[in-house]
Subunit: 699 residues, 2 copies
Amino acid sequence: MDREAMTTTRLRILIPLLAGSMTATVLADEGMWLLNQPPLEDLKDKYGFEPHGGWVEHVQKSCVRFGGGASASFVSADGVMMTNHHVGFDQLHKLSTPERNLLVDGFYAPTRDRELKCEDLELKVLWSMEDVTDRVNSTVAPQMSTAEASAARRKNITMIEKESSERTGLLSEVVTLFHGARYHIYRYRRYTDVRLVMAPEGGIAHFGGDTDNFEYPRYCLDVTFFRVYENGRPLRPEHYLKWSTSGAVDGELTFIVGHPYRTERLFTVDHLKFLRDVKITTILKRLWRREVQLLTFSARSDEQARMARSDLGGAQNSRKAFTGILAGLHDPALMNGKIAAERSLRAAVDANPRYKAQWSDAWDQIARAEETHRRLYERHSALSGRRAVIRSDLFAIAKDLVRLAEELPKPNAERLPDFTETALESLYLALYSPAPIHAALETDGITSGLSYLIDSFGAEDPLVRAALDGRSPRARAEALVRGTRLKDVAFRKKLAAGGATAIAESTDPMIRFAASIDPEARALQKRFEDEVESVERAAYTKIAAAKFAINGAGMYPDATSSLRLAYGPIRGYRQGGETIPAFTNMGGLYERYEKRGGVDPFDLPERWLDHKDDLDLSTPFNFVCTADIIGGNSGSPVINRVGEVIGIVFDGNIQSLVWDIAYTDEEARAVSVDARGIIEALRKVYGATALADELMNRG
Amino acid sequence: MDREAMTTTRLRILIPLLAGSMTATVLADEGMWLLNQPPLEDLKDKYGFEPHGGWVEHVQKSCVRFGGGASASFVSADGVMMTNHHVGFDQLHKLSTPERNLLVDGFYAPTRDRELKCEDLELKVLWSMEDVTDRVNSTVAPQMSTAEASAARRKNITMIEKESSERTGLLSEVVTLFHGARYHIYRYRRYTDVRLVMAPEGGIAHFGGDTDNFEYPRYCLDVTFFRVYENGRPLRPEHYLKWSTSGAVDGELTFIVGHPYRTERLFTVDHLKFLRDVKITTILKRLWRREVQLLTFSARSDEQARMARSDLGGAQNSRKAFTGILAGLHDPALMNGKIAAERSLRAAVDANPRYKAQWSDAWDQIARAEETHRRLYERHSALSGRRAVIRSDLFAIAKDLVRLAEELPKPNAERLPDFTETALESLYLALYSPAPIHAALETDGITSGLSYLIDSFGAEDPLVRAALDGRSPRARAEALVRGTRLKDVAFRKKLAAGGATAIAESTDPMIRFAASIDPEARALQKRFEDEVESVERAAYTKIAAAKFAINGAGMYPDATSSLRLAYGPIRGYRQGGETIPAFTNMGGLYERYEKRGGVDPFDLPERWLDHKDDLDLSTPFNFVCTADIIGGNSGSPVINRVGEVIGIVFDGNIQSLVWDIAYTDEEARAVSVDARGIIEALRKVYGATALADELMNRG
């Protein structure tokens, strides 16, 4: 479950169900468009909007890729960059000290000398793109095996990237688009001198906490401002987004530009049914169980509640997200749309003899792979992943050690992915982490995992019998946690150094426990890779090629963390017979605060209570629009037709979670902070006049 | 799930997995013994205890059956009766007024004229018992069918009861014991004038609330005192239990006398495996899901939290209880004990040709029935019960109306059990209840139920397709709740009056929805009754007869709510490597209060905060012992060898929940309030000097 579990909040959450794809027919305001292939015709036809010549380039160069993959944008002539509070969270955490908890208290630097420099933050601005498909494929020959072709491409890509970097001085990366149908080179400007200007308190940035996450109406000031420096001076960016003075109105067309991480809209109907019938229901079944287990554990004492807090938050967030996706899959409108689209694509393939010969078997190949996956899934997913269903760090460490002993002697190319030379560093980081291990939480997690294995595989299953070693789940868990020496980092290092012999001879109970489970886990993983994953990959390459051939350039590729443009009007929706208006205002924030009795997560920072009377409570605070976004879009600017900032995206509602596999706009919405709410808060709550003036170009 | 779901707290909780049975070999302090067949030999052998001649009769006549089936005892010469606060809960609720909430504030009548009279409480004291097996079976002939034999017995029982009542003037009831191997007549004295003397605040009676329920260590004053009157004067009971002046010590032998409701210790190994592998895992799977659903619903607003509170509490309590039972079934010690016992009983049966011919096929019959039940269970249990998995009152009402139209025209004897003439009153009570129906909770419950049906039966299942009617679960639920007129009681009455025609012609969407599900529910119920339930019943009658023949009188029958004696020493236990001492004290109460920050359910009543310094904090407060109890024992006195009160049972720890199917004493314990803690609280916290003096015979 590890890989699917989403342990952070908001739009940074990623659900990589399977990589790569693209859509067949574009519905409504669907689409995460490449900046070098913007949907100009659709915008003209649907909204009568024709951006002027430099519009797209200006927007592209105003946008920023923040750290590993979130979004941000330049919003002042002097290099102020805006992103979400939850995107800047790690930086705020690192800049905090025991005396100054920025996450709780917020921060504002009224003058530049008081800005706080981030230690390890990298920003990238996409400067140019170019289609290099032909060069990437230039040495691929028809008689090559898949592995040979892949190696040939890899070699070309390395060469293209190196040549581009040397020639342009820009960081150059080849990105795979349309599931390998196209390769583009992306060139970036890099910035590493980034300083914190302003962050609100966590309490207002995430007002409503996990309770309101993925919900709407919302009242969050999920924004943070940094300033980018170059050569010790504030950057004067060639492009930055101007702040809208008037703000947006209901129904107005908006654009969202950022880095959606991953979508899987190529999935066939059989594959979606596998998700609906098997994968997501199984994940949810485990999450419900785990959430209740962690709540029960937490209820016992405040200490236990602290131990379990992060696991519990992760489980709840994942549960909410998967519930949203499953609700989409249970919606006949979505499924019928997928069925119709698939039927028409297959008909188009079959109508062309050349297409038919190349691609028409792809759907049935997926169907057969999913049949196999249905049989494998419960057992494979229960045992795969670093912790499998055994939610214990000690077990994960034991499993790593067992596998390390087996993998290290092999040639690099034959090792499991987590054990290759390049992956070893992060493996050792986890393996030798001195992070505290809570015996009570470990025992509870192993007990629950063993009970799950009994429920799921049966009490008489050989693996279950070996795992339990003749005891009850709790007795076994207690004996394992009490008996293992893996709590001691030095012991782990000694075992790792001893290699396969040390593991084989170790009497440590947790090592023996992991060793008893691992052979079947490996066997299942191999079956999964051979009989499911590789079949899917080959078939989706065909389907993608078919779509590309039939639908041509009027397509957007599945999200891959590259820069994209989405669009759609600000628009409320109907939910459960109720109309949800597009905008909330600051008055609504205080109403919700009062209605919930100010109890966490609905408590407000002191400043917000003190300055309530100073605020114009009719100021718009959050709003929703139909633009097509997903995890990774967090921090993306929301802009109007003239390219001005009217807001910043920070979440999607629960109905939007299904956008992972299909776009709908009946109820699904992107959720943003309104630019006017930001300015009102900066001026009236934080006295951040200098920053507000700078944003409004009154500096 | 309705029938298994346990919606009340503590030991009143009943899990009737299947009725009637008895044990093979008696382990440790196992046994809920008949008062007319006390385990004298065991007591002598194991504890060197030989009660004097009148001991058992004195104890029996000091004990009281409270209302429908809980336990109590006389504890003063002037008719003071002690039971649990949670047993007296309903009476305290009824005696409360808007100005005087006894459940929150507690109550004490310092003088008799200030006692509060209960309106509808009946007490029974068991006065005499007699074996009437031969008379019950006197007219049963070998050639009779099961139904004929049953009717013959029923007729004899009615005659025996009538004759006994007329002759003795005592309320007389024939009880079925040893699964029909024995019948005893029980004669009771009845009391109906009962007045409230003292009740503590709910906050101290249930300190720790649902969080601590089934846990230990505990700190609860779960006790309430009434006084019984006769002819307008306090009753001077012939027998009452004296209060111990010295209290109990660790390791001391205790006796618990009360009314355990039901145990199922006769279950065969195959039947237990069905529980372990199918039934309880399925129930828990639904409970985890439901708990998370209700928590999510509750988090949205305080109003919603109030709507869902009772459902949520019920789900959490059931989840805790079933988790405890499943943990027992996952314990190899328990299962291996059951296997060994079964093997030896079967060997004894097979060794005797007459026994073999009569009974040896019983175990295989159960095995086959459980095979069938495994195939039926998921679908049958999802659709059976009043609400099935559709947690909606409106759905239950619609289902009742649909069935009523079908059942009423039939002869009484052919109707479903809930629709016979005698059952109709309570059916109409539920059907025409003006209790508020919360649309939001209904919609959420139906959405979740429909999603469950998709997950469980598959999206393409005909019943699922009919239930969804082409919509998503949420859209369907919203349409049903919005569209139905069943919120209106008058409409329900009109439909009921219209009979089958009105139902057939009704276009009410909830009626149509229920009508689309009911035929399969009925068909599955019939298969369950024919292929599982009736087979089990016949086979268990054989097994019980075999056990009775082989083990004879040294046995106790399964609990049936009749008066029983259990015994066992006060003894702590080891849990998770930790030693849990047998006793807690009043100081521990305040420590726990402080450690949990005094936050609900760990807040203390004002009086307890005010009087902390007055208390001797070393006073024992709660304790555990190994005596064999179960739901229905709530309020039972705990007495010492000389028959003095040393405490009152109010709960079992979570490990004791498995006592339903098997006794273990490694960790399982009964939990009681210590008599010394009661007196200390009465004197120092409540100033209830008169009552304390009366209990201590210093009046």
